[in-house]
Amino acid sequence: MFRFALRRSAWAIPTLLLVTFLVYIALRMGTDPLASYMRSNPRATHTKIEQYKKLNGLGSNYVTGYFSWLKNFVTFNWPRSIKGSREVWPELKDAIANSARLGIAATAVGVSVGLGIGIFAALRPGGKRDVAVNTVAFVGISVPPYISAILLQLVFAVYWSKWFGNSLFPTSGVYPPGQDGFDLVLMIKHMALPTVVVAIQVIAVYSRYMRSSLLDVLNSDYMRTARSKGLSEFRILMRHGVRNALIPVITIAALDIGAIVGGLIITENIFDYPGTGKYFLSAFGNGDFPLLMPLMVIIVASVLLFNLLADISYAVLDPRIRLD
């Protein structure tokens, strides 16, 4: 098992390098980092420009340029942002922390509710509950996150306070303006709506996966064996049904991590939530290469990491997968 994980991670590193190289090219072509720099710093001296080019690996050759960027990146010799010459890491770190909090909350809510109602639907295929779950899932898939976000904002930001006189769930930021320090209740209140928006997508997707996967399992012969043993229905469902049905769901989950991050980016932007989504869109809008590259590395790395985790958990869950 350990060797399997090790070999898989060994593969992830060249992939990471290759993909970041492609991203480097795409960003250099797409955002034109030099022009963006000149636009934001029209009076920059020649030495400053040279230093900027050197730190970002903006030489004329893409390959050597990438490697000199990479060298600075891994030695933590990161260039400052184009706009305002800010340090990148503190900003990125905060954005990631905020996004991770939102992402984990939404995934936790989404996966547990999604799997739950998926199981619920599979118990009586074709029944009323099944149809209801199916319809909910369909609506969830068909409503893009920005629309559910707008509708929730419409209800809570505009009408709730109008009707009830208080604002139950604020619709922007992590804290109200002026708030200093940590306040759990406020934080949860601020996170509630964006969490719901992202969770809806997750619920829609997972309930369908779980339902169809569990239906396959419920029709299998070993379920009959389990019943013939005189086990309780709950134990049969969990230990023999859900346990087996999770295997295919997990492989798909890895592919979905990108969709969840995508949903986060959109949602954060609408709710003015200071996470990676806002970070990305404002940096992208400014063509801020020094801010964008580290974020991209982290996105690529996390996609690969989740793929790896899914592979490993797949192997752990399904003994039929050979590890060599």
Partner: protein, 325 residues
């Protein structure tokens, strides 16, 4: 026959399907004496498996079951779910046709046996694991200690069927129902599995219901036989009598379709089994029977004593002289 351990009376099973009511079992009586091996024989669709799945309570919701199934005097049909569950796996256990799919692929075989033990006996995991290894040894699995820690896919078909048997006998059941336990296996392995079943019956005195379409299997291990056709019993009795002087034309047809010494060619039974959505009102076999008379189609025949057998053929007496055997 009050001494029977498993007694089935007038069992009827109907499935509601899109095409109508499928009457799979239409009044079946079975008696299993303690410690005997009862062979239940019939072609696919004769209702033999469904009867015993119904007895186990393993049929889907779409099945309507009436009649009586008594295990050791306790009624199972219509009993509370919890009561049935405590019987299932403890006093009444089952071995399935396809050992490749009967075991859960993601759990170790040892754990699957332990689960069976612990769901009916108050035993700690360590003891249950020891017992599981013992059981694997009983059914003839070499190196049971290591094998218990392996997964089903690491076993061959025959070995998996041994595991299924080990699991079924884990709680020392009074009756073991084996539903076509050898059908999916190679011929050489079939014989070994039958030996295992016989050994279990002899060692523990377990009554075995052996459901099969293979008369050869019946001849080898069964004490008595119950022949089913179109959801009904057509004939039952001691195995020797059935093979020596079968009373029902269907049984005779089955026997002459077997390869045996002195026969140049096999004789298949002409025609097809009836449509169970609209079963014939009289004897189910009459449309295919060369001896059928009008009376055969008139009403459903029931089992009647005939010599040392029970037969549903109303012409059994007439056919005794002219019939082949």
């Amino acid at each position: 026959m009050s001494d029977s351990i498993l007694q089935i009376r007038d069992l009827r099973v109907t499935f509601s399907t899109q095409m109508g009511e499928l009457r799979a079992v239409r009044g079946v009586d079975v008696d299993v004496a303690p410690g005997e091996i009862l062979g239940v024989v019939g072609e696919s669709g004769s209702g033999k498996s469904v009867s015993f799945l119904a007895a186990m309570g393993l049929l889907p919701q779409s099945a309507t079951i009436t009649g009586s199934v008594k295990l050791d005097g306790i009624e199972l049909i219509g009993a509370k779910k919890k009561a049935i569950r405590s019987v299932r796996g403890r006093s009444l256990a089952m071995v399935f046709q396809d050992p490749l799919s009967a075991l859960n692929p993601v759990h170790r075989v040892g754990d699957q046996i332990v689960e069976m033990i612990q769901s009916h006996q108050d035993m700690n995991t360590h003891d249950a694991e020891k017992r599981a290894v013992e059981l694997l040894e009983i059914v003839g699995i070499p190196q049971p200690n290591d094998r218990a820690r392996q997964y089903p896919h690491e076993f061959s078909g025959g070995m998996r069927q041994r595991v299924v048997i080990a699991m079924a006998i884990a709680n020392n059941p009074k009756v073991l129902i084996a539903d076509e336990p050898t059908t999916a296996l190679d011929v050489t392995v079939q014989a070994q599995i039958l030996e295992v079943i016989q050994r279990v019956q002899q060692t523990f005195g377990t009554a075995v219901v052996l459901i099969t379409h293979d008369l050869g299997v019946i001849a080898r291990v069964a004490d008595s036989v119950n022949v089913m056709y179109a959801g009904r019993n057509v004939e039952s009795g001691p195995v020797q009598s059935i093979f020596d002087h079968p009373s029902h034309p269907y049984t005779r047809g089955l026997l002459s379709s077997l390869p045996h010494e002195g026969a140049d060619r096999l004789q298949p039974i002409a025609g097809f089994p009836p449509n169970m959505l609209a079963p014939p009102s009289g004897c189910g076999f009459a449309p295919r029977c060369e001896f059928a008379i009008d009376a055969c189609n008139a009403e459903l025949p029931t089992l009647q004593p005939f010599d040392d057998l029970q037969t549903s053929c109303i012409r059994a007496v007439d056919l005794r002289i002219g019939g082949r055997s």
